[in-house]
């Protein structure tokens, strides 16, 4: 049996994926925090990707497959910390993959890297420019990670590298920005805007990652779920109440509250509440025959309070 190493294994998505991959792989993982009560068959190491101890783990575990999803996706630890963990962590990981005989690699990027802009076409394909940092500098680390991984893909063709850019991930276990946002007691929105948003269930995303490994995918792929609805519909269906705010008030307010550490949404996120990012998942479906099992209704249900 091949051995897979999952970075960020103690996160919601990491735990789901570990359980899913146990069917076909020997599973080990690393995370900066411990996973209490992890399955006995799974070896979990609490290390920082940037530290030498991580290389030791790879050297001793000798995985042939790596799934990289060990990113900080919130802003509680500070923007510069986040950037360093995500970008330098990825760089280290890629180097170790080259040096320690890893044969396939999946990097979990995000459709946010395309950026939310008024001129965005619907259903952007994988060749669309990654412009997120133009309006949302706080997540430029995600763009850099994606770019590092895509460059790696071309530089080391003998390692099967697959970059996945899933739509908004929701579910009971996963801690996504959008999930946290939709769970707010009053969900702030921008008055007069209601962009379309695509969603995918956490279990379906795990399945998609498993399929990518099974098919030995190489390349960059968007991953989409069952469909899309306007933001306000998503808020209503997850049992929330929208709090529409006029943009001229919202921007300075978010700016200050974020700087004082009172909220965890940077002002750059506001554009994501105004303009759509919808991506075409056809390429991935053609390569893997992926079919999401969870409907939009069920996805929203998993967030109901």
């Amino acid at each position: 049996m091949e051995k897979v190493l999952i970075t960020g294994i103690a996160g919601g998505q990491g735990r789901l994926l570990a359980r899913r991959l146990l069917e076909n792989f020997e599973v080990c993982g690393v995370d900066r925090v411990a996973w209490e009560g992890h399955p006995r068959e799974v070896a979990v190491h609490a290390v920082d990707l940037r530290k030498k101890r991580f290389e030791d783990v790879i050297r001793t575990e000798q995985p042939t497959v790596v799934v990289h999803m060990g990113f900080i996706r919130h802003f509680r630890a500070g923007a510069s910390m986040r950037h360093d963990v995500n970008v330098r962590g990825t760089k280290q990981l890629l180097d170790h993959c080259v040096n320690h005989g890893v044969q396939s690699l999946v990097v979990l990027s995000s459709s946010y890297v395309y950026g939310a802009f008024p001129e965005n076409p619907y259903y952007m394909d994988e060749d669309s420019p990654l412009s997120a940092s133009r309006s949302y500098p706080e997540i430029r680390d995600l763009v850099e990670v994606d770019t590092l991984a895509s460059a790696f893909l071309w530089r080391y063709p003998h390692i099967r590298t697959c970059v996945l850019r899933p739509a908004n991930v929701l579910g009971y276990y996963v801690h996504s920005m959008i999930g946290q946002y939709l769970r707010e007691p009053r969900v702030p929105t921008v008055m007069g805007f209601d962009p379309m948003m695509q969603f995918i269930h956490e279990e379906d995303l795990s399945e998609a990652i498993a399929l990518a490994l099974e098919h030995g995918l190489q390349g960059v792929f968007n991953v989409t779920g069952p469909g899309e609805v306007p933001l306000h519909t998503a808020i209503r269906e997850t049992g929330g109440r929208a709090l529409p705010m006029p943009e001229p008030i919202m921007r300075p307010l978010f700016d200050r509250l974020f700087r004082w550490g009172l909220i965890s949404y940077p002002p750059g996120a506001i554009d994501y509440l105004k303009y759509p990012i919808t991506v075409a998942g056809d390429r991935f479906v053609e390569a893997t025959n992926f079919r999401p099992l969870f409907s939009l209704e069920e996805i929203f249900q998993s967030l109901r309070r």
């Binding site: 001129e119 965005n120 259903y123």
Partner: protein, 289 residues
């Protein structure tokens, strides 16, 4: 409270208006678009939303402009590009063409307008237009919709047509060539359309482009009514609309062909629209009836 108001509004609505509302609802139920369980298509269009706001447009269509259509049964099924003349300072021609497709075509169709790039920045307006089926006019959006079997309407004259002064009525301005490349790329038939009436609805005297640029608007037309009559001045005259649909044109070739090759095909479409306009003007006796 809301229900009482709705009842009151219902009781006060004349029967004929309620009839129009019902007709519109029935037609909207028959559109071939794929609508998800929450009532939206993949681009944010919502028949339910259209049902609620379509009435003013339909009143304009039936009672104000008294639109008459000719040869609408020529429309093909599935994907198509509607290419029409553009006039009248405000795009009532687009609204009436869309209304004719919903009310008169079999099956009823949602006409997709390709909007300006700044529309998504406008609060409320952007949402309203998206729910009505308008997308930003990027080539990617147009291709995606045509490949999805949608009916896309394009006014290749753009601002040059809609804001031209009255003496140039029914004279087609320069046609952009983008639509032809998209039609070739998606193998979509082109349906030439002539809209008669719109060119007299708001006679333009002169277009002050410099003032428009200063105000950040695409044009600043001085017309018979605007700006002299204030907001009232933007109302169109009650001209009678006649919409002529031509036979679908199929073009062969590559989307990447040279401009000269593309322009020659565009010229054919332009001639087809001009012929329809000529026929419309010949057949009409009066502008207002």
């Amino acid at each position: 409270m809301k229900e009482v108001l709705a009842d009151l509004a219902g009781a006060l609505t004349p029967l004929s208006v309620r009839g129009l509302q019902q007709e519109c609802e029935e037609r909207l139920r028959k559109v071939p678009n794929a609508i998800n369980e929450f009532g939206f298509d993949g681009y944010g269009m919502s028949p339910e939303w259209l049902r609620r706001v379509a009435l003013p447009g339909i009143l304009l269509y039936r009672w104000y402009f008294r639109v008459e259509t000719f040869d609408i049964e020529r429309l093909p099924h599935g994907r198509m590009l509607l290419i029409a003349n553009h006039a009248g300072q405000l795009p009532f021609d687009g609204v009436m063409l869309a209304a004719s497709l919903l009310l008169e075509a079999e099956p009823p169709r949602i006409a997709r307008a390709m909007g300006e790039y700044w529309i998504p920045r406008l609060p409320w307006v952007s949402v309203a237009l998206a729910r009505a089926g308008t997308l930003v006019g990027t080539p990617e959006n147009c291709v995606h919709m045509l490949e999805n079997g949608e009916c896309v309407m394009v006014f290749p004259e753009g601002v040059r047509g809609i804001n031209k002064p009255f003496p140039q009525r029914y004279q087609l301005q320069h046609f952009g060539t983008g639509f032809m490349r998209l039609a070739l790329q998606t193998r979509a038939p082109i349906v030439p359309v002539a809209i008669i009436g719109s060119e007299e609805q708001q006679p333009g005297l002169v277009n002050l482009k410099g003032v428009g640029r200063l105000l950040g608007m695409p044009a600043f037309p001085i017309t018979l009514g605007f700006p002299w009559l204030g907001p009232l001045g933007i109302l169109p005259l009650p001209v009678k609309y006649r919409i002529y649909f031509g036979a679908p044109l199929h073009f062969e070739g590559e989307a990447s062909d040279e401009d000269a090759v593309i322009e020659e095909k565009v010229e054919q479409v332009k001639r087809a629209v001009a012929d329809l306009i000529e026929r419309g003007l010949r057949e009409r006796e009066r502008v207002f009836t």
